[in-house]
Amino acid sequence: MGKNNGHIRFVVGLGSCGIAAGAKDLYEELAAKMKSHPAATLTHTSCNGMCFKEPILEVFYPDGNHLMLGNIHKKDVDKVLEPLLTQKPVDEKFVIENSLQPDKVESFRLKQHKIVLENCGVIDPDDIAPYLEKGGYTALKKVLTSMTFEQVIEEMKASGLRGRGGAGFPTGMKWQFARNTQSEKKYMICNADEGDPGAFMDRAVLESDPHRVIEGLIIGGYAIGAHYGYIYVRAEYPLAIKRLKIAITQATERNLLGDNILKSDFSFHLKIKEGAGAFVCGEETALIASIEGERGNPRLRPPFPAVSGLWKHPTNINNVETLASVPWIINNGSAAYASYGTAKSKGTKVFSVAGKIAKGGLVEVDMGIPLRDIIYTIGGGTSSGKPFKAVQLGGPSGGCIPERLLDTPVDYESIAATGAIMGSGGMVVMDADTCIVDVAKFFLTFTQKESCGKCTFCRVGTTRLLEILERIAAGKGVMEDLDKLADLSVKVKDLSLCGLGKTAPNPIITTIKYFRDEYEEHIKDKKCRAAVCKDLIDFAVVEKECTGCHACFKNCPVKAISGTAKAVHHIDQKICIKCGMCYEVCKFNAIFKG
């Protein structure tokens, strides 16, 4: 990106994922070591989606050549710096892409199509300049100088963009509702509360390209007639908050925010509100209550926020990714956007792929591509090499989709037909080592804890569901439990007040639908085929394999293992707490689990 001015430019990815993998140390090491090199500069960007390769270092040469290295750490700097500076070959194991080797392509990048993520991992998110260079805020300018609010709304309608926060409601229509309510004051809110375990799309966008979201938000404000906006970000995203704050300051300095934006008569003021870590606050009405300073409990609808929302004023709430799509649509036209995707699900969708996947990270694909492409072509299959079992789509509100349905295209309707939901785009991949009862239990533990406690079905219902799952996982289930689960799941889904409860049973319903045999095994055979449910498994020493290395003995936290060096060891089942430590540390496959 950008001009090199004759310098060699080093760019380190400093997103949360990169930092977690050690990118900051890498950056500092490079900074220290490069000081003496007048011909090289060092900058940073954020996440380019290849979380599995973090830390990532990209090098751009004055001659136009370019190199992308991955899994490169502070300790490797001494090894690679010299060859990089002198444009000599480096250790192949680091190289992801090299412009001199056009046939070396990272399959992860195939089949992706970047609209929302176009700048992610490319620009420096702490500086507005590169965003402007990439055409940032031209959409806003276009809107303010040449489009009426009706035209903006029509454009959104024509693009077919649907809300990326989960429900998939057409964005243009939503804006129209908020526009239709007459009021002196209106609010435009960006929902950046991303709370589902396994989802990190919104975080990555905010950290990598904050201005894009702000630009979308301002355009939305213009369309609905709001002069005030909030970005509701969960407090667990400090880096996103920091970058948003910087971005707001910079945009305000350039009159892209504030009074009379770009000398037009449209004014828009933007504030950040930090959420306090409640999943339910991502629900629109709870989010509004939270901004108002009340307990983040969902409220009854109607009235809908578009009629009476924040402080009783008409309010429109959009997800981060929804808003990040807006500038592109304005710049490139609704037709261009609508040319991607399927008949009813237009454009692209970002997914965060995590779990037992070889190449976990952030992907953006056209709506309608088969799930299989995401899991195998992009994601490279399971990380363990063991058979793929299922993929959970939509986090705790979603459901799991088994191997045999992997050809399902990713669009709202097709995914919903499986019993899962598109959700916000979290994908958790499971392999043969994943117990399906355990998965349901995991998500129910989450939703049960996060239930706001207001309505009976969600509060008590999810608790009782969880208790039954726990019973089954503990080998104490009876077959009627499956009927109870089914009955209660449907009622909790139908009768809960807000989206949390209405979707909480989805993981149970889909796992029973596709993996009923595993439930029955737990109940009837007291067996967990993935060897996950502790109460159904034992650890034992396989005497003929044990070399007496003493490793298990040393690592057992409760001293359940006896045996002297070089002699066969023994596990006392009465003491064993099934932590699995011995299984992990034994190098001779001498611990049996099952």
Binding site: G453, F457, R459, V460, T463, R464, K491, L497
Partner: protein, 825 residues
């Protein structure tokens, strides 16, 4: 209107109504747990679900609006299954304690389990039990029984505005808690008991009532609260001659289910062991009392009074009655004084509180009473609250003020030297120096007239004396008013503009206006404000005194005053004098009698020999009690009718034990002129007699036979002699009572006075100059001392202090001193 089908029945409803409301109107029952008519919908319990044709899932009828052509089924199999499962879920976390639970019989959960025949839950798994909160004497909280309907939270927030309770934690750990789990007493709770009143289960209980009786064992008696002038309607729960609980009817005015701590929990004083039960007499106040029979006591009183009348003349006697007495008792007291004793020396304790209201409002409007009803407060656009610490003194009226502000967007102007609770709700707070009311109001009038904001048409057509008013008011420009009152001129201007800018402006005031030397001037000034802006004679307007005791209005209406008979018919008006003389069968004095302070003066001067005091304790409550006590000591004969041995009774020669409000029939008239019946709930204590009977017996013994079968007959006599009461009798009063004037037996009552014309014809604008109080701070006494009301106690505390619950919550008094004043010393 839209029409819909509910269970096949065609129902019409307004589009803003919910399915639940439409069904209720059609007589179709839908069970609810979290819905309450006074509260915002919550949609939490999901018990009210119904099936709507075409809807994706069942809908919560308490929140879902009706729509044209909707087809609703309230009892389909799907609905029933959902409700049963709902109950199973609730029951899965509920202690199975109906056998000993005080809620049994009134519990909504219990009756739903029965209705839906849910005997147990498939999901039984209790949360670990928590310890009930037993930390205060009024409200028992057992969160193990809570079903989290949230009604307590909403009512504390939306109705009481106290925000004491809130949801805490998430998921299954969710519970209702106070801030930082503090005991209620320290968490801002005012023990109004609203939360208890809406709790559908046994999670919140009136503690004094626990273990006292089952709901089906009690008789429910409706009556009127005996404390403040709001006159809340009460329902007494009586078992075996004992009041075990007090609740209130959500649909009955003026309080619509609300009560304050005194009304709800202050009901045990009547069984205090020191209740007087036997007549007591003595020859001189240096001697101890001796118990005696009623015959002897009444004979003695009759003899002594006749003797004094004979030897010292009619003017040596005076009677003081009580604003806590019923209308009938007050009527008889003044009848006795005038007809039997032949004097107009009749007064009541309103002398020290709202007599200036009577004088002031009569001078301005012609009727000494509140112009509008308390319910009107809620719909006002601008409220002036002056000299009333309403949240403490008239708690239930304060709720209406808060509702007007918080829910209906009214602007509130508070005039008070202290930062009272209502200041938090105020748009403008005029913090005046004590005693400068008239100047401040003149300042407000100045701004309105000066800026031309007055209602010229109204002034023209319905008032008189505007020119003089203009002249006087011209002397109070904002700068000068600021100088006198200490209120910043901007605030004066702001307040004046706000009030002048509405046609729904209502003035509410209290003792802070009247308890001054020129108390009636303050009242007239407020009337000026209402008159020049035309804010009178319509709903949500007017000028409304908040009466102190529950029957201040009534005691004055009944003529327990030195210059008037019932409803302000003047004793020196020959026609009135003739009417009453004829009715009572004896000549009546025409000269107005002595006011209470004059009586003490006369007694100290030795000219006044005997007093008859009924249910009033001036020896404890007057400002200068030394003076009052000396005056009483000088009397030859003092008769006191009382519940307890009060300070005044201690100075008496004869003490006659009587009944309290639980024990009698009669009527009270509240601050909005609502005459409402008290119904006897429990018998008199053995040995005590009704006030009205005692008066009759003394009169009869003195040779003037008085006899009535029942207080209702006294009311019939009042109605015959009082045009405003002509349409009132006990039958018509059953239920919510009537608001006087009630001109004839068909008349529905008059909640709004002065609609087309003022009682006195034209409204009088009284031109009044501000006169400073007599005793202002000086070098020797450099501080102001001003007294205030407290929520928990009532006047001399003779009743409220005898309630163990209330006494535990609030048992001591204090003086507040500005730190600056202390440092400055």
């Amino acid at each position: 209107m839209v029409s819909l089908l509910i269970d096949g029945k065609k129902v019409e409803a307004a589009p803003s109504q919910t399915i639940l409301q439409a069904a209720q109107k059609a007589g179709i029952h839908i069970p609810t747990l979290c819905h309450a008519p006074r509260l915002s919908p919550s949609g939490a319990c999901r018990m009210c679900v119904v099936e709507v044709e075409g809807a994706r899932a069942l809908v919560a009828s308490c929140a879902a609006p009706v729509s044209q052509g909707m087809k609703v089924s309230t009892g389909s199999e799907t609905v029933l299954r959902a409700r049963r499962l709902n109950l199973e879920l609730i029951w899965s976390n509920h202690p199975n304690d109906c056998l000993t639970c005080d809620k049994t019989g009134e519990c909504k959960l219990q009756s739903l389990m029965y209705d839906y025949n849910v005997k147990t839950s498939r999901f039984v798994a209790q949360n670990p039990p928590t310890k009930p909160d037993d930390s205060n004497p009024a409200i028992y909280r057992d969160m193990n029984k809570c079903i989290l309907c949230g009604k307590c939270v909403r009512i504390c927030d939306e109705v009481q505005n106290q925000h004491t309770l809130a949801f805490s934690n998430r998921g299954m750990q969710t519970t209702i808690a106070t801030a930082f789990e503090k005991p209620l007493k320290d968490a801002g709770c005012v023990f109004c008991g609203h939360c208890v009143s809406v709790c559908p289960v046994g999670a919140l209980m009136d503690k004094p009532s626990m273990n006292k009786g089952r709901p089906w064992e009690t008789k429910k008696v409706s009556t009127v609260c005996c404390y403040c002038g709001v006159g809340c309607s009460l329902v007494l729960h009586v078992k075996k001659g004992e009041v075990i609980r007090v609740t209130s009817d959500t649909y009955s005015p003026p309080n619509y289910g609300s009560l304050c701590v005194k009304g709800r929990y202050g009901f045990e004083f009547y069984k205090s062991p020191d209740r007087l039960k036997t007549p007591m007499i003595r020859d001189s106040i240096d001697q101890p009392f001796r118990e005696t029979s009623w015959e002897e006591a009444i004979g003695l009183v009759a003899r002594k009074l006749l003797d004094i009348k004979q030897h010292h003349g009619t003017e040596a006697f005076g009677c003081l009655s009580s604003s806590r007495g019923t209308n009938e008792e007050n009527y008889l007291a003044q009848k006795f004084t005038r007809a039997v004793m032949g004097t107009n020396n009749m007064d009541n304790c309103a002398r020290v509180c709202h007599a200036p209201s009577v004088t002031g409002l009569r001078a301005a409007l012609g009727s000494g009473a509140a112009t509008n009803s308390l319910a009107d407060i809620e719909g006002a656009e601008v409220l002036i609250v002056s000299g009333s610490n309403t949240t403490e003194a008239h708690p239930v009226a304060a709720l209406k003020i808060k509702k007007a502000v918080r829910q209906n967007g009214a602007k509130l102007i508070v005039i008070d030297p202290r930062e009272i609770e209502l200041v938090q709700f105020a748009t403008v707070w005029l913090r005046l120096k004590p005693g400068t009311n008239v100047a401040l109001i003149n300042g407000l009038l100045h701004v309105i007239l000066n800026e031309g904001l007055e209602n010229k048409g109204f002034i023209e057509q319905r008032t008189e004396n505007i020119d003089m008013l203009r002249q006087v008011v011209a002397q109070y420009p904002p700068e000068k008013t600021e100088e006198i009152t200490g209120v910043p001129r901007e605030d004066i201007i702001k307040a004046a503009r706000i009030y002048a800018d509405t046609q729904k402006g209502m003035i509410v005031y209290g003792l802070g206006m009247t308890e001054h030397k020129a108390g009636s001037h303050g009242v007239m000034s407020l009337a000026n404000l209402a008159l020049i802006t035309g804010n009178v004679g319509r709903p949500n307007t007017g000028i409304n005194p908040l009466r102190g005791q529950n029957n201040v209005q009534g005691s004055c209406d009944m003529g327990a005053l030195p210059d008037v008979y019932t409803c302000y018919q003047k004793v020196d008006d020959p026609a009135a004098n003739k009417k009453f003389s004829e009715a009572w069968g004896c000549p009546l004095p025409t000269k107005p009698g002595l006011k209470e302070p004059q009586m003490y003066r006369e007694a100290l001067a030795g000219r006044f020999k005997a007093m008859y005091i009924i249910g009033y304790d001036p020896a404890a409550t007057q400002a200068n009690i030394n003076n009052v006590r000396s005056a009483m000591r000088r009397l030859d004969f003092l008769v006191v009718q009382e519940l307890f041995m009060t300070e005044t009774a201690k100075l008496a020669h004869v003490v006659l034990p009587t009944g309290c409000f639980f024990e009698k029939d009669g009527t009270f008239t509240n601050a909005e002129r609502r005459v409402r019946r008290l119904n006897q709930a429990i018998p008199l204590p053995n040995g005590a007699r009704h006030d009205w009977e005692i008066i009759c017996q003394i009169a009869t013994a003195m040779g003037y036979p008085m006899s009535y079968g029942h207080p209702g007959e006294i009311m019939d006599e009042i109605a015959r002699l009082t045009p405003e009461f002509a349409g009132i009798n006990f039958e018509r009063l059953a239920g919510d009572g009537l608001v006087w004037p009630v001109w004839d037996k068909q008349h529905p009552g008059t909640p709004i006075l002065h609609k087309d014309t003022f009682t006195r014809g034209k409204g009088r604008l009284n031109d009044l100059l501000y006169t400073p109080s007599e005793e202002l701070p000086d070098n020797e006494y450099p501080l102001y001392l001003t007294t205030g009301r407290r929520l928990y106690h009532y006047n001399n505390g003779s009743m409220s202090l005898r309630n163990p619950e209330i006494h535990t919550i609030s048992s001591e008094e204090f003086a507040e001193v500005h730190p600056g004043a202390v440092l400055w010393r």
